[in-house]
Amino acid sequence: MYEFAPQITPIIDHIIDSVRSFRPELAISIAFIGTIFCSLFIDKYWKQSSFSSFLIGIVAAGYLTYTQNVENLPVFFDMLRVDSFSQYARIIILFGVAIIGLYIQQYGSYQLPKKRLGDIYAILLATTLGLHLLTLTTHWIMAFIAVEMVSIGSYVLVAYFAQNKKESEAAMKYVLFGSTCAAFMLYGLSLLYGFTGSLDFTSIAQMKGMIAAPTILSTLALLFVFVGIGFKLGFVPFHVWTPDVYEGAPTPITAFLATVPKVGAIVLFSRLILAWTASPFYFGEVTLHFLCFVAIVTMLIGNLVALRQQNIKRLMAYSSVGHTGFLLLAVLSYVHHEPEVLFFYLSTYILMNLAVFGFIMILEKQTGSANLPDYSGQGKRFPILFTALTFAGISLVGLPPTSGFVAKLLVFTSIFDLYQTVDQSLYLYLLIVGVLTSVISLFYYLKIPMYGFLRQTTPSKPADGVATNSHIVYGFALFFTLLLLLFGLFPDLLLDFFRQP
C-alpha cells in the first residue's frame, strides 16, 4: 500500500489530464443520464424531451470530437489512443447515430404512438459510447468492454419494439448467438493473456509472447478472438444471424445494425491487423491469410445468397454481408497507409444504407410489407421514391456516377497497387472475386426497380389509414441519395476531409 504513496500525485495528475481528451465520451455519458431523467420526469409534459436531450448530446459530442486535439497523447495509461483515425471514425458514427435516432423517433410516432420511447434513446446513447470506446482502444480489456456494451445495447434495441412473434424470435436468436461469440472471444483473450502476459495488442510484450508461444495454441487463440470481432462485423461464417435479425428487427433498428457497429468493429480490426501484420513472424502471416480468405468467402456467399431473396430486408442483410467483404479489402489498403480509402468506403456505405432503409421504412408503411412481390407496380404510385431507390441500388452495386463506384474503384486500385508491389497471387484472387461479385450484385439490387416499374400491379391492399406523415424520413433519404450522386461526381469533397491531418 505504502509503495504507491510517493507516486500518487503524478497518477492523479495524469488522470485529470486524461479527462480532457475524454470530453466527447463524457458528453455522451451526461446525455445518457439526461435522457433517462427526461424519459422519467419530463416526457409526461413534453413528449419530445428525451429525443431532444439525445440529439443535443450527439451534437455536443460531434462538436467536441471535431475540435478535439489529436496529438496521440497517452490517455488513461494508454488504455485509449486518441488519434485522427479514431476521430474520423467517431464523426461517422455520430452522424449515423443521429440519423438513426431520427428514424426511430419517426417510426415510433406512426407505428407505436402509445409506446414510451424515452428509454430507447438512452440505450442508443450507451451503445454509441461503446462504439466510441471501440474506435479508441488498443487494449483488450477496453476492447472487450466496448464490444459487450455495443452487443448488449443492440440486443435491447432489437427487442424493444417487439410486438409479434418474428421480432421476439429475432431478438432471442441475436442474444444467444451474440453471447456465445462473446464467450469464445473472452476465452481466446484469456489464452492470449496467458501466452504474452500483456493485454495491449500493440505492445512489444504481446509480440514477443506470440512468437514464443506454441504455434497451434496461439493460432487457436487468434481464431477465438476473431470469432468475437467477426460476430460484430458479420463476416462469414459468423454471418448466420444477420438475415434473421435484420428481417425480424424493426426497420430503423435494422438500419442501425447494418451501419454504425461495423464502423466501430472495423476500426478495432484495422488497428489489430496493422499491429500484427507489421511483424514478419508467422502469426502476421496467419492473420493476413485469414483476412484474405475470409474476405473472399464473405463476398462470394453474401452476394450469391442474396440472389434468391424475396424479402427486401433479408436482401439488404446479405448485401451488408457482401459489403463487409469489401470493407475487409479496404482494411488491407489501410494497412498499407491509405486510411482515406477505408473512410471513404465507410461513409459511402453508411450513406447508402441509411438512404435505402429510409425508403424501406416508407414503403413498409405504405404497403404494409417488406416482400418484393408486394411492390409490383408501386413504381407508378411513388415514381420519385423508386427512382431514388434505384440510384441508391446502383451505388450499392458500384456503378458510376455514384460514390459507390468511386469507393470500390479506390479499394480495387489500392489492392492492385499492392499486388504489383508485393506480387502475391493472393491479392490477385481478391481482386478477381471482388469484381466478379460486384457484377453478381447487379442482379439482385436491380430486382427492386424491376418489381417497381416493370411488373403489373397486383390488387394490393390500400395504404392503412395512418394519418401521420413521414416527410422527414423521406426528405433525409432523398438527401442522402443526392449526396451519393454528389460524392460520385466530386469525390474530392469527401476525400480531402479525410486527408487533412
Binding site: Y155, A171, K173, A183, Y187, Y193
Partner: protein, 101 residues
C-alpha cells in the same frame, strides 16, 4: 502450490462442457447456462494466468470486468427469452423458427 496446467485443464473441460450445452440446444435457458460456463472457464484462465502478472494484475482486473459484463448479458438474455416464451409458449430454439430462408 498447484501447477498452472491443472487450472488450464479444468478450464478447458469447463469450456467444452459449456460448448456442448450450447450446441445440443433443447432449451434456451440451458444455452444461457452453457454460455455462462464458457465465460467462467475464461475467467478461471485469466485468474490463473494473473498469478504471474504481479506488476499490473491485468488478469484479475479483466476477470472482474468479465464477471460484470456476463451478468449484464445474462440479465438481458433472460428477459428476452421470457418475452419469446410469452409469444411462443416454448423456449426450445428448434421450435422457434419463423424466420428462415
Amino acid at each position: 502450490m498447484i501447477p498452472i496446467t491443472h487450472f488450464l485443464a479444468v478450464s478447458a473441460c469447463i469450456f467444452c462442457i459449456g460448448l456442448y450445452a450450447v450446441v445440443s440446444k433443447r432449451n434456451a435457458i440451458m444455452i444461457l447456462v452453457g454460455i455462462e460456463l464458457m465465460i467462467n472457464a475464461a475467467i478461471l484462465n485469466l485468474v490463473a494466468f494473473g498469478r504471474y502478472d504481479r506488476a499490473e494484475y491485468g488478469g484479475q482486473v479483466f476477470a472482474l470486468f468479465a464477471i460484470v459484463l456476463a451478468a449484464a448479458a445474462v440479465a438481458v438474455g433472460l428477459s428476452i427469452i421470457l418475452m419469446a416464451y410469452r409469444k411462443y409458449k416454448t423456449i426450445n430454439p428448434d421450435q422457434i423458427t419463423d424466420l428462415r430462408d
